[in-house]
């Protein structure tokens, strides 16, 4: 303390602030309680995952077994590979549709654009089972797509498209038009303006959409159950089938843990690369 250097003010400060009693003010109690609450919630949510992790390393007779994860690369490898392929394809198609759509909705006076946006967002509010059933009917009687992976990919696109569209719309609305106008006045074509100005500046919104869509597709089970072709079994579907037919096995847990890790890694990469602008409220960074 610098009490000796300012002797005249030190007593004044002590008498008004009473530092000894300040430690247990109600505000401090509230702080402790709110932190405690957050940690408690975290524990409740994280604990099941920890249990799964422990179980995935359990060998016969309660021993430690890393071999469970060999199944992931062997017998389950194909399922993971399907999941990744479906996710990447769906996300790519999502992006190809959402980017121009968002640009049109935000920048051009499209008639009835609120209605269009509401319709496009509809899949977010429709239960997966309903989407799955409708698509099965549509595919069977209309498009005959049930035998190829594209049926599954299109189903995923329908379900996750609004997740890609919304962050891009938000990012575009945040972007002042003057950047585009400045580029245009400097002689840039529409495409140059988009590629060199708009695209980099909506990067955070884009990547938020990419991440959300990827995570959802990668872990999607219900809609997949309805529309998957018989020779395509994604990882979540395989887990469900295994649990249903063979009960809870440590090898199944290993697959679940691997899926968890891939999802988690995607989120981490997202935050490291693109920052937190669009998902500020998370605890991850």
């Amino acid at each position: 303390m610098s009490a000796s250097s300012v002797p005249s003010t030190a007593p004044l400060v002590t008498s008004t602030r009473r530092p000894a009693r300040r430690r247990w003010t109600s505000r401090r109690m509230t702080d402790i309680l709110s932190h405690g609450y957050i940690w408690f919630c975290l524990a409740v949510f994280v604990l099941p995952f920890t249990a799964l992790l422990v179980y995935s390393f359990t060998g016969p007779g309660g021993t430690y077994a890393i071999e469970n994860f060999q199944y992931v690369l062997g017998s389950f490898g194909e399922n993971l590979w399907w999941s990744i392929r479906v996710s990447v394809l769906s996300v790519a198609i999502d992006l190809a549709i959402a980017l121009p759509a968002a640009y049109a909705i935000v920048r051009y006076p499209v008639p009835g654009k609120r209605l269009i946006y509401s319709l496009l967002s509809l899949p977010l509010y429709v239960p997966g089972a309903v989407i799955g059933l409708s698509l099965v009917i549509a595919y069977n009687f209309t498009y005959h797509l049930t035998t190829s992976i594209w049926g599954l990919v299109l189903a995923m696109v329908v379900g996750t498209f609004p997740l890609m569209l919304t962050p891009i719309i938000v990012a575009l609305k945040d972007l002042p038009v003057s950047f585009e106008e400045a580029a245009e006045c400097l002689g840039a074509s529409r495409w140059q303006t988009f590629r060199r100005i708009v695209f980099p500046l909506i990067g955070p919104g884009l990547s938020a959409g990419l991440m959300l869509a990827f995570i959802i597709v990668f872990n999607e089970y219900l809609v997949t159950l309805f529309v998957h072709p018989s020779d395509v079994t994604t990882a979540p579907l395989r887990i469900f089938n295994l649990v249903r037919t063979a009960g809870l096995l440590p090898t199944t847990a290993a697959l679940a843990v691997t899926m968890q890790l891939i999802s988690f890694a995607t989120v981490l990469v997202f935050f490291r690369v693109f920052g937190t602008r669009y998902l500020k409220a998370t605890y991850l960074i």
Binding site: S178, A183, E184, C185, L186, Q192, L201
Partner: protein, 378 residues
């Protein structure tokens, strides 16, 4: 080098008329200011010159080329926005070079031009910085360098200083003027700030409600306003609405007496008037002199009144005097302003330099067509 000509351009947004049949010719190398209150259509006019807004009617000419249907990117203009609008993900150098890089100019040519531009705006050595690392004033300088780099035909400024603080505004407006003079570019400058317009313009276009009220030099619009709007918008003024009560012709010199309630003012008639005409008379506060006990000779108008308030403003003191129920404001400078600060009671004022304008048909905002008809009749 370029002239700009607007021929009866209009812009309507639904039922709202933003700009109405506006015509304006700007000479090569001239700096013309569009001055007016917000919503008067000045920015819309500028954006029509740039091509960012499509006119509902009328044509825009650069030299002898009709550019009305040419998109902004092919008009070769330099547009400086209210915010610097520097691309935040590019360095200062890349921002300045952007206009050249989209035209596929070679990299070394761009680098040389960027260096030249940075030196021109006094920011040599700042090329590697990101816009966020620079102050607001520096950013606006970079924005200037960015538009000058492409060697545009016309420079367009949309209130470029309004986002800056006052001291910066003062220094930057002279930088803009100097750059425009040195590069000899034709320029249109939009502002609502009168002192800005007065400091840099060759000519000022005063706009109101989508139309031009008056075009002229600083002295034209300040000393010889042609419409009530210009008289009241430019500077402070004392306005009286009254009727011509007497008219004396003496050769070319016609003098009128205007009676507004209990107040009668005399002045030279700048326009053709008749007894009984409804007019507006204006006198600037700086032209109203406190006479006190001095003899009023030399002043056409001498009035007595009661001091309402004295507002000391530093270089001047504002005196608000009640003359027969009307308030007359006098701006006093010099030593007298100090003597006035504590002053109360009665005071005698004298003034010449009264401006008379024919009154629009009704009080308040006149119906535009009638006002136009009246002006035409004059």
């Amino acid at each position: 080098m370029s002239t700009v000509r607007l021929v009866e351009i209009s812009k309507q947004y639904g039922a709202t008329v933003a700009v109405h049949e506006l015509s304006l010719a700007i000479a090569d190398g001239e700096l013309v200011t569009l001055l007016g209150p917000s919503g008067c259509g000045k920015t819309t006019t500028l954006r029509m010159v740039a091509g960012l807004v499509e006119p509902t009617q009328g044509r825009v000419w650069f030299d002898d080329q009709d550019v009305t249907d040419v998109p902004p990117r092919r008009r070769n203009i330099g547009f400086v926005f209210q915010t610097p609008a520097l691309f935040p993900h590019m360095t200062v150098a890349d921002n300045i070079g952007f206009g050249l890089s989209v035209k596929k100019v070679k990299k070394d040519v761009i680098a040389a031009r960027v260096g030249e531009m940075l030196a021109l705006v006094g920011l040599a050595g700042y090329g590697a910085r990101l816009p966020a690392q620079m102050s607001g004033g520096q950013q606006q300088r970079v924005a200037l360098a960015r538009v000058l780099a492409t060697d545009p035909r016309v420079l367009l400024f949309d209130e470029p200083l309004s986002a800056l603080d006052r001291n910066l505004r003062d220094s930057l407006k002279y930088s803009i003027l100097e750059l425009q003079r040195r590069t000899k570019k034709t320029a249109i400058y939009v502002t609502h700030d009168q002192s800005e317009a007065f400091a840099i313009s060759d000519r000022i276009v005063v706009m109101n409600a989508g139309r031009i009220e008056q075009i002229g030099t600083q002295t034209d619009i300040y000393l010889r306003p042609e419409t009530p709007f210009v008289a009241e918008f430019i500077g402070a003024t004392n306005g009286f609405r009254g009727r011509v009560s007497r008219l004396d012709r003496d050769g070319d010199d016609t003098r009128v007496e205007v009676t507004a309630g209990a107040l009668t003012v005399r002045c030279r008639a700048p326009i053709e008037l008749a007894v009984g005409d409804e007019v507006l008379a204006y006198v600037r506060p700086e032209n109203v002199v406190v006479l006190d006990d001095r003899d009023g000779s030399g002043y056409e108008n001498v009035v007595d009144g009661q001091i309402d308030r004295v507002i000391f403003e530093g270089p001047t003191a504002q005196l608000r005097v009640d003359v027969g129920g009307r308030e007359i404001r006098a701006d006093v400078s010099g030593g007298l302003r100090l003597a006035l600060v504590e002053r109360q009671g009665r005071v005698r004022l004298g003034f010449n330099d009264v401006t008379v304008i024919r009154a629009p048909a009704t009080d308040g905002t006149p119906p535009r067509d009638e006002a136009a008809a009246t002006t035409a009749a004059v």
